[in-house]
Amino acid sequence: MRLRRSKGGRGKLEFADAGVNGEPLLVVEDLHTSFRTGRGTVHAVDGVSLTVGRGQTLGIVGESGSGKTVLARSIMGLLPAQDVIKSGTVHFAGHELTAMTPEELRQVWGAELSMIFQDPMTALNPVKRIGRQITETLRLHLNMDRSEADATAVELLRSVGIPSPEVRVRWYPFQLSGGMRQRVMIAIALACAPRLVMADEPTTGLDVTVQAQILDLLRELQRERHMAVILVTHDLGVVATRADDIVVMYAGRIVEQAPAHTLFNDTHMPYTRALMDSIPRLADPSGMRLHAIAGRPPDLIHPPKGCRFSPRCPYVRDKCRESEPPLRTAGSRDHLFACWFPLVNGVPTAPSGRVEARPAPVSPAPRPVPDSFADAVPPDRAPPGDAAVNPEAGVQSP
């Protein structure tokens, strides 16, 4: 069995230098993914559309069970065929991923589109040396010979900040710490200089102090290589300062989508607000209770009628329970939300846009960029737009 693909073999995909002519790198349209189970069909992803520009970062945020991981894997086409129903289209760099044969997909995976997994403990093969796990991609996609690939692997490990990489290439995953393993995983994902990296909760399994290092590393490498990143996370704080655009998912659907500063500054969807409130902040007085979102994510086999967030929404009205709000634009064209009574300055509105008289139970002030990250991100690293966005700039860095 040979690892290497035959040179100049048939069906070699050519990738248009997408993005140069203004076309986005990734366009997902009306993606649906369902699983057949013993109890019924789970609609894990239910009509999602999004775009990612070249070199851009898109954050996908949601609670566990919101379908964000399934969405990431559906975009890649990485889900099993058995008992999975898919529809919708995924355009990537001039190609239609959803129409590709498994053969063709394999030419894309790892080469143009790669993935960083949540748990570096389980996502690295425990019985293969880490060097080998990097070189197999290099040899497959870049047709390198063994010594060339070995040398490249050392360089890759060096670039992700692993000390004495010449020695470490011969190590096994269990000999490395969690943070080191995640660095190895990043090295693997970036080995063939992909255009898009899917990072599925890349820091969830790591210590808080290591989390920021890994995310910074990822951002640095992203800028260097000008690649796009989809950052999937349950933590709005993670994407707040790192994503260009943010998509908030709930029960398989997008409920709000906007550029990061717009989302934080002008939140329309009560669910997004609830997510923000659940982030602990340094500015909070000690002993203050965290805002948990009451209730649980809905059953995706029998989703609630009307707005899927309605059973948990503090501002729920009859209309919310009866019909489902469409995803519509707000003032600016790039801000989308799905809510009948969107928040304006933290206060729910009537359909006409008139501010309700009813007082809001949560703090009405516009939410600053969550600063749980303030300790991890040096002030000079914070995006320049932040000061303008944040009316209470003093809160950010204590």
Partner: protein, 319 residues
Amino acid sequence: MPDDRELSNTHAGAQLLSDRVPGSAAFDELVVSRQSESLASDDILVKKPLGFLFWFALSWVGLVVILALIANLLPLPNPNYQNYSAINAPPSIHHLLGTDDLGRDLLSRLIFGARVSLVVGFVSVVVGLLIGGTLGLISGYKGGRLDSALNAGSFVLLAFPAIVAVIAIVAFWGHSLFKITVILTVAVIPLLYRVVRASSLSFANRDFVVAARTMGATSGRIVFREILPNVIPAAVSFGLITAAGVIVVEGSLAFLGLSVALPTPSWGNLIANGATNGNLQINPYIMLWPVLAMFLLLLSINLIGDRVRQRFDVREGLL
């Protein structure tokens, strides 16, 4: 090429690899219960029907047991009676399965021969479970010095190839049905001990046991009321498969002429007689019936054991 897709990506069994210690713990693995967290975990709650094969297997074992029990009451000729006027007779009304090279009735020999296999197989496992299982239950729960000693002892005993030890002992001690049963019982004790110990160990620190302990339950009560019921599925399913193994060993010994003394019939020596002395060419029935009966018996016992394992979700491991 639909090749890639069925490599599904759920997390079931993710922890199985990490807590796996090879070699020494081979036996411990097989009873560690599986905790599935797959996307389709709901399906596991739906119990698979036992199926036609299970009932067929159970019927066959039941039939063999009943026939062996009431063999004396059946209108069968004496299994050792040599009818020289009907040597190598084909199946007929008088001899339903035919006769052998000495004119003995094959059906009668088959039914009486079943007694040996069943007695050896089931007595050794039941006694083995009573002794080895009790030791394993206590040693797995209590731990400590007793556990270390028994554990080391069982390793040493299992380091021997059982068949060689059994043949050697048979050579010096003799081979009556009683002695064969005793020897094979001793041989299965360390095996059953290990299985039950591993299972007991896996329950010893579960919440419900800890809860019982904090409520002041005595060790004896915990072992027999809390742990024992949970260990039973693994013990039964492994016990059945061990019984099949013991029947194979007895059959092998009988085949080699080292089990019950001739002319007492046993399926192993019936097969040996059918396969040697030129009988295979002249009268293949002599071999055919015991081969079929043995095949079906082993198949049935294995199948029942496997269904028990599936039903109670005992991991396959070395079963």
